[in-house]
Structures are given as C-alpha cells and as structure tokens.
C-alpha cells in the first residue's frame, strides 16, 4: 500500500466528517436529482496493487508521445510516468511529494464525497508551474478503473504560479463495475492562465463522482471543460471561487447519455470580487432512457461590482424517454452587474435535417451530422487535438446507431 497523502489529522477529520454527513440523499437540495443509493449499497474495497490496463480500449486513451507528461493510474494506484516535461513545470505524485496547499480549497466539511476522498486518497498528480512559465503542450493524467466492487479516490492538485500558463487533461475510463471518486484542486495565482479538461468516459457500469475545485486570484484566466460520456451514474461538480479582481472564467460542459445513464452536472461560480467575468455553457445530448441534470448556480456577492456573467444550458433530446432537469440559477447581491442565464431543450431541427437530406445524405447520417454539430460548439473550441479525437471516438462508441463514424473527417 502506498503512503497516505494527508497528515493523519486531516484524514481522521475527513473520515469523521463523512461518518456524520453520511451518503447524500435526494432529500437534500444539493442532491435533489441524483440518488446515490446504487453506490452506497456496495461494499467497496481498494485495489491493493496496480492492475494492468486491459487491452480493450486502452490504446485509444493513451496520449503518451503527444502529451508533455503523462501519468497513469489504475484503480488509483500509480502505474507509469512518461514524457520529458518542460522548463518551469514540475509534475510529481502526491504520494511522493506533499504540498501545504492540498485540501485547502475543496471543502470536506459539507461535501460528503470530498470528505470520503480526503479520508481515503492515496495518490494523484501534483502539477506546479513556476512564475512566468508558459508551458506549451499538455499534461495528461489517466485514471483507469478495472474490475468490480473496487473504488479509488484520485486526488490532484494543480498550482499555476503567477503569470504562468498550462494545460492539463484528466481522463477517466475503465472496464467493470468500479467507483471513482475524484477531487482536483486548481489554484490559479495572479495572472495565471489554466486550460483544464476533464474527460469522463468510464465503463458503462461504473460510478463516477468528481469535484473540480477552482481558486482564482487577481487577473487569472481559467477554462474548465467537463465532458461526460460514460458511466452508469455520474456526478460532476465544478466549483469556482473568483477571489481576485479581474478574473475570467469559462466553464464548458458536454454530457452525452444513452441507455439508462444518469449524468448530473453541478456547478457553482462564486463571484467575490469586482470586474470578474464568467461564461458558462453546458450542452447535453440524451438518448434512450438517459437522464441528465444541469444544476448551475452563479453567486454574485455584495463586493462583486461590474461582474459579467453568462450562464447557458442547451439540451438535445433524441428520444421521447430521455429526461433533462435544467436549473440555471443566478443569485445577485448587488446592482452593478451584467448577468443573464437561460436554458433550452429541444429535438433536432427540421430545417437543417431537410437541407442535408435534400443533397442526398440519408436521414440517419444527416441526424448524426447534426448531433456532432450540436456537440461541436464545445468540442471545436478545445485546443488539444487528441482530446477532440478522443471525444469523437467516445461519442461514437456511446451511440453507434445514431452517429456516422467520422473516418477521415477533417474536424
């Protein structure tokens, strides 16, 4: 067993806190749309040692050679590190290198799954950039789950130093009925630029709960993208605290559910200081009996004058039995702001479909092109090409009957 990440006191506190809080239930406002009973009723155990990544699917996930540094974990246990890194960048394992900043941002007093993670985390990535370092390329952290009744609690800490710039991709995938409970803390110091991707394409019988906790200081710029494609029951939380003046934040999400998947996206953006801007766009595509949730809150505090905030959730329902609960919320505590929010729910539009078909493209293929098109508003903005490829593959695997395989597509 690898050594624990946290000092014993924190672990014990967090464990105690989880005991007190217990598993959340839909009676709690924060968990209104999602029942975690399927997770809580299983007797989970940790993997003692690293399994190997199964043959199937794994080559697709591997971005070694394209990533600057790649860390791979199986069931939360470290497997490999590849890549040379870059000047001003340090990528290490939290099991080997501790940071005083760890557990300072993700709250484990009120968030049961963060408490559970903090009590049980054994390893994860620590990514630090020096002040002024502009890191070209991206860092990839791959968490692979394998087997049944196994849980893992990945923990990551990303510290972007003043005026530094970096891109981090986290991929979650696997095979089996496992449970991943991940927490990532991102700290963007003054003027730092962080582009963060979380790609959740877990096995179709796996459970995934994850929190991205973002802390922004003055004039920092963070883009956090969350893509959820796989998993039986998924809860993705992104919480951002804009703690300095002039920060900008973009939260972009894409969730794609089929079968009887349940994908819950919860975001909280806390505007605490003046002159900050947040742009949030989450798009959902739901088929079969899948259920999606978008529960987004933007809080503009008393001291956050000149805030600009836009929050949008757009959903595409492909079947009559798919369900979306969309709840964008603005809580504004001062007058000097420009904020708007909204959500849409719809089917594929008739006009574009007719247009494509009138050129000879078959109905199924035309529908598929339009489904990709709906997703592309998020995907095309992604700067990391291997991520775009991964998402298109994952989408195709998710709904092969709906989507044309995009061989040789230029984008």
């Amino acid at each position: 067993m690898t050594s624990a990440l946290f000092p014993l006191t924190i672990r014990e506190q967090a464990a105690q806190r989880f005991e007190q809080l217990g598993w959340p239930t839909p009676r709690q406002e924060e968990w209104k749309y999602t029942n975690v009973a399927p997770i809580s009723k299983i007797q989970w155990k940790s993997a003692g040692q690293a399994a190997s990544i199964g043959q199937a699917g794994a080559p697709d996930l591997n971005m070694a050679g394209r990533a600057l540094v790649e860390l791979t974990f199986v069931n939360g246990v470290f497997v490999s590190k590849t890549g040379g890194g870059a000047k001003g960048l340090k990528v290490s394992r939290l099991a080997e290198e501790q940071s005083e900043k760890l557990a300072k941002y993700a709250d484990y007093q009120d968030h049961p799954f963060t408490a559970l993670n903090t009590a049980n985390a054994n390893d994860g990535a620590l990514i630090v950039t020096e002040a002024g370092a502009a890191i070209e390329g991206f860092i990839h952290i791959l968490y692979f789950g394998s087997g049944d009744e196994v849980w893992s609690h990945p923990r990551n800490l990303i510290l972007a130093g003043r005026n530094s710039q970096l891109t981090v991709v986290e991929t979650y995938a696997g095979e089996g009925r496992y449970f991943t409970n991940a927490v990532t803390e991102i700290v963007a110091e003054e003027g730092a630029v962080v582009d963060h991707y979380k790609i959740e394409c877990e096995s179709s019988s796996a459970y995934h709960v994850g929190t991205i906790q973002i802390h922004q200081e003055r004039s920092s710029n963070v883009t956090a993208r969350s893509v959820a494609v796989g998993g039986a029951l998924v809860r993705n939380e992104v919480n951002a605290a804009l703690k300095g003046e002039g920060c900008s934040l973009a939260l972009e999400g894409l969730f794609i559910g089929a079968g009887s998947q349940h994908i819950d996206n919860k975001t909280v953006i806390d505007h605490a200081r003046p002159h900050c801007e947040s742009m949030e766009l989450y798009k959902g595509i739901l088929d079969g009996n899948a259920r999606g949730v978008f529960d987004g809150r933007v809080i503009v505090g008393v001291g956050a004058q000149k805030t600009v905030a836009r929050q949008t959730n757009k959903n595409l329902l492909l079947s009559e039995t798919a369900i979306i609960d969309s709840k964008p919320t603005l809580e504004i505590h001062n007058d000097d702001v420009k904020c708007n929010h909204g959500s849409t729910i719809g089917q594929l539009a008739e006009e574009p479909l007719f247009y494509l078909r009138s050129r000879g493209i078959g109905e199924e293929e035309a529908r598929g092109l339009l489904i990709y098109a709906f997703a592309s508003e998020i995907v095309d903005r992604m700067k990391v090409e291997p991520v775009r490829e991964l998402i298109r593959r994952a989408m195709f695997q998710q709904m092969p009957d709906r989507l044309p395989e995009r061989r040789g597509a230029s984008r």
Binding site: P352, Y355, L356, S358, I361, G362, L369, F374, A409, S410
Partner: protein, 252 residues
Amino acid sequence: MLEIKNLHAGIEGKEILKGLTLSVGTGEVHAIMGPNGSGKSTLANVLSGRPRYEVTQGSVTFEGKDLLAMATEERAREGVFLAMQYPVEIPGVNNIYFLKAAVNAVRKHRGEEELDAMEFLQLAREKMKVVDLDEAFMNRAVNEGFSGGEKKRNEIFQMAVLDPKLAILDETDSGLDIDALRIVAQGVNALRSEKHSVLCITHYQRLLTYLVPDFVHVLAGGRIVKSGGKELALELEQKGYEWIEQEAVAAR
C-alpha cells in the same frame, strides 16, 4: 424528364397548388414566374420532399419514376436538386465534409466509386472557380455567417458539384447584385446540356437574359395560367401579372 399532372398540394390543411400541370423535357430550361404567394416555392418544396407539405391529388414522375413516393434523399440521389430560396445555416457542420458526404451518397446510388478526400477536393476546387467562391468558405460551417449572395453562390456551387439532372432554382437571383447574378448564371449555364434540365423560379427578367429559357410559365392561384417562349418574360416584366390573371378568369 419531369411530368407533373394535376398536382394539388398544400401545407397545414391549406391547399396552395390547385391542379398544376407541367412537363419539362430533357435538356430544357423552363422559367416559372408569378406573383408573391402564388405557390412557386410550394412547387419547389413539394418536388424536393420538404416535410409537412401534403400532396392531395395528382402525380409527379421523374424519368418515369414516381417522384412523390421517394424520400427526400432518394430524389436528390436520382438527380433532383433544389437551390433554396432561403438556405439554412447549419453551425457545426463543415461545408466540405457535408458536401463530400453528399457527393458520395449520390455516387454510391449511381453505382459509381466513392471519391476519396483528394479526388473530392480536386472536384470541389474546380467547381469553386465557376462560382468564384473563396476556398476559405469550404472550411466554414454550412452557410454560417454567409451573406445573402454567398449563400446563393454556395447553392450553385453545391449544384455544380452534385451535377443533378434537374436543377430547381428558387429565386436564386433575388437580392443578388449584377456580378453575383452573372456568376450564378454562369454556374447554371455550365451545367446546361442536352442531359440537364433547369426549372428556374424567378420574379425578374434579369437572370433570364443570361439563362435564355426555352419556356416561360406563369404560376398564379396554384396553377400554370399561361405558357410561352422567352418573350413572355419580357412582357410580364413590362405589364405585370394582372392581365394574365384576368385572361385566366375570362377563359373559365
């Protein structure tokens, strides 16, 4: 090539075409003119199978086959092309990718080998020149952010690439400046041959001076009320439609 007999059709329970009969032979260019709301676009839409239009009576055959029984994409694959009056913007669908899929769907239907990326690009480049579209347009989303004139030229470009047997142009000339108009006409004339037919819906004589139709028809009140040669278009431009409508009423 195209035989329309006693066509009655409408939308949302409202009958718009009321017994339209028209025959377009192979290699012919026909112009259809008529007042606003007379049913010109309805005819174009019914021929291309736009959803929600209902045919209540009559028949349409294309090269002897029942056109109305075919799905929209089948009609396109058989060689019917509609340049739309209002081309829709489709964000997220790449122009070149879309058109390649379309070309290959048509080729497959004809039993021809599908084009690979290089072959297709070569074809596309060649046709782009005809309509004077910049290559940058190819990599944009279908019609997204295109000006009115660019959308129309894109329609003609698609037509040129798909090489249909029957091209239906629904007011492709409307709103075009003289240069764009000439380009559109050039695109259509390039397609013209003894194997290709054109059905050109327009309000103006302008395009017809470049296209020179074999026949001109007036559509009013859901029927073809007058047919003639290319001179008819000139006459219509000078005198309007009223005299024809009166003639039609008197003839009953």
